[in-house]
């Protein structure tokens, strides 16, 4: 008996008892659907995390320093060190981050205000939409200049800044000198929800004169390790104590994030995979019942010359067809659920091609695997006994 014939027969049987077929498939639908949804959402979360950290720059090295009274890492010294090591460093910027309430007339929001150097924009490859960035003169003169992210502009200025507009940051008046280009759809908490000011001013706002955080940018991915080693030597030379400073390598951090999310994907996929196993057992159960119910039919087929493998094929193909049909519906539902939940959680989640192929392959394999035992039972039936049964 040809494969096509077996499929046709399987299709007839499925249509012949729609309710039962559907209930049998339901396990498969839920199993495949949950695998696809969970893996899709997990992929969305991973993309979000990786995206967020990538914005910080994979070539970045973030250095945190605890200055003491006698051992101080001086800003000018850091700049000089960076210039001397031009081979491995593209540049450096101090980074004095804090969260303040900012105000225009009567409207106010809370946002992150970061004190940075004049090279910040170039190091991060961000463009300006309008105006200029913090200049060296601003830093030198501790001038209250600021550059806004688009979210702040939208929120406090209805999207339009006029030259000479000012903003109050923690009660102090700042002149808006520039606006950054939109980077992340102008939503709250994104990299558009930010204000940059001169680091010297930020220190004054925070009430401490020493800068404790720097962002170094390596000259290229291949120089990240060299830069880290050079920094380590330099900082140890000044502070003489590894506990007083830390160097965070963004590339390494990204690797760790990827590892963690991959592990979580496996765990979630595994849990959903268990439901596939349960679905397979459900299919096997129904197929066993079906074999008993159709003993007479098997007897008739055998008496007319059906060989063991003909009967075997018939039942295996039927199980596989039910399983794959369930898998297919599961893929459709899972894909829809992934997109819907992604929208709900504001994650850009999409079903991954890999999870679809995996789910479909697994459902076919389960159908064949769990269909094998009932099919084998059917194939081995004695035609005389089978014919005699009612």
């Amino acid at each position: 008996m040809r494969l096509g014939q077996a499929f046709k027969l399987a299709w007839q049987c499925i249509l012949g008892s729609k309710m039962r077929s559907f209930l049998t498939m339901l396990g498969m639908i839920i199993g495949v659907g949950s695998v696809i949804t969970l893996l899709g959402l997990m992929q969305g979360v991973t993309n979000y995390l990786v995206g967020t950290f990538s914005e910080l720059g994979t070539n970045s090295l973030i250095v945190n320093i605890r200055n003491t009274d006698t051992r101080v890492v001086d800003v000018e010294d850091v700049y000089r060190f960076t210039r001397e090591n031009k081979k491995v460093f593209q540049g450096v910027t101090p980074s004095v981050a804090a969260s303040y309430t900012v105000k225009n007339k009567n409207s106010s929001v809370s946002t992150s205000v970061t004190g940075v150097g004049e090279d910040y924009l170039e190091l991060k490859s961000i463009d300006l939409a309008w105006g200029r960035f913090i200049s060296y003169a601003d830093i030198k003169n501790r001038y209250n200049a600021c550059v806004l992210g688009t979210y702040i502009v939208d929120k406090l200025y209805d999207g339009k800044i006029n030259p000479g507009d000012t903003i109050r940051i923690n009660g102090q008046v700042f002149t808006i000198v520039g606006v950054l280009e939109e980077q992340a759809d102008t939503v709250q908490g994104s990299s558009d929800d930010c204000i940059y000011i001169p680091y010297s001013v930020a220190c004054r706002l925070a009430g401490n004169s020493k800068i404790s955080s720097y962002t170094f940018v390596a000259a290229g991915t291949e120089h990240v390790d060299g830069a880290e080693a050079a920094l380590d030597d330099y900082l140890y030379g000044i502070l003489k104590d590894v506990d007083l400073y830390s160097i965070m390598n963004m590339a390494e951090l990204l690797d760790v994030i990827n590892q963690i999310t991959a592990m979580m994907s496996s765990i979630l996929g595994g849990i959903a995979g268990i439901s596939l196993l349960v679905a397979g057992i459900g299919i096997m159960n129904i197929m066993l019942v079906s074999v008993v119910e159709r003993t007479k039919e098997i007897g008739i087929r055998k008496s007319l010359g059906a060989k063991r493998r003909d009967i075997m094929w018939q039942f295996v193909i039927e199980a596989a067809t039910i399983s794959m049909l369930g898998g297919f519906i599961g893929i459709v539902i899972g894909s829809a659920a992934t997109t819907a939940l992604g929208t709900l959680f504001k994650i850009e989640a999409a079903p991954t091609m890999g999870s679809i192929l995996l789910a479909f392959g697994v459902s076919a394999a389960i159908g064949i695997g769990f269909g094998y035992a009932p099919a084998s039972k059917a194939a081995k039936l004695n035609p005389i006994d089978a014919l005699r049964s009612e």
């Binding site: 012949g16 008739i300 008496s303 007319l304 010359g305 059906a306 063991r308 014919l387």
Partner: protein, 247 residues
């Protein structure tokens, strides 16, 4: 008349040869001898009835002749092939190519249209869809229900279903037609029709073996073999059978 038959049989040669067939069933620890040394020869072109009460062993001998089962000991030679030692798949091929079954309960598949039921044996012999259809229509025409080919079995009368079953038995053009109580589920008029049809098939050259417990059905055959307690108690033509029963 008898001479002519013998001459015909001689030139056609034996189709079925059973040589000292024993069949033992094991019921728990006890052995049941269903067939206890049966030997017989059926030539091509014969119309033979095997008659016996239930439990006589006639079903067992039918199963063996129909290649549904193999004997515990003894030899079964069908058209020169030793069937008694065959495995499942070889038996399936024999059933498929050489034997056409007609059952008491028709045994049509309820979810298949008549034409698909009739062409089922051809499906298992690997014939293409177009040829299957053609052959099945031919067989349906022969039994006179070709207009019902699209119907499902439950849309047909008992007599029509049995005709469908006969068409299915004929479709492979088998060496042997084996009918197991074919009239058991039919009323007397349709029974009569079926038996006449079997007779006609026999006259066209088909070898028919009919299993029955009913004397009046058995007497429609040319030769009667009576079985009792797993042994042949009578083997002869209808006239002799009547004489023996009367005597």
């Amino acid at each position: 008349m008898k001479k002519k038959n013998q001459a015909e049989e001689a030139c056609r040669g034996p189709l079925i040869q059973l040589i000292d067939i024993h069949k033992v069933y094991y019921m728990g620890t006890s052995e049941v001898y269903a067939n206890n040394g049966i030997s017989l020869t059926i030539n091509e072109g014969e119309f033979v009835a095997i008659i016996g009460k239930s439990g006589s062993g006639k079903s067992t001998i039918m199963n063996i002749i129909g290649a549904l089962d193999v004997p515990s000991s003894g030899q079964y030679i069908l058209k020169g092939k030793d069937v008694s030692k065959m495995n499942d798949n070889e038996l399936a091929t024999i059933r498929n190519k050489m034997i056409g079954f007609i059952f008491q309960q028709y045994n049509l598949l309820p979810k298949e249209r008549l034409i698909n039921n009739v062409s089922l044996p051809l499906l298992y012999s690997g014939m293409g869809a177009e040829a299957r259809r053609e052959k099945a229509m031919e067989a349906l025409k022969k039994v006179g229900i070709e207009d019902k080919y699209r119907n499902f079995p439950n849309q047909l009368s008992g007599g029509q279903q049995q005709r469908g079953a006969v068409a299915r038995a004929l479709v492979t053009n088998p060496s042997l037609i084996l009918a197991d109580e074919p009239t058991g589920a039919l009323d007397s008029r349709t029974s009569e029709e079926l038996l006449s049809f079997l007779k006609q098939l026999n006259e066209e050259g088909n070898t028919i073996v009919l299993i029955t417990h009913d004397r009046s059905v058995a007497e429609r055959a040319n030769r009667i073999i009576s079985i009792q307690d797993g042994k042949i108690t009578f083997d002869g033509d209808v006239g002799e059978y009547r004489k023996q029963v009367a005597g």
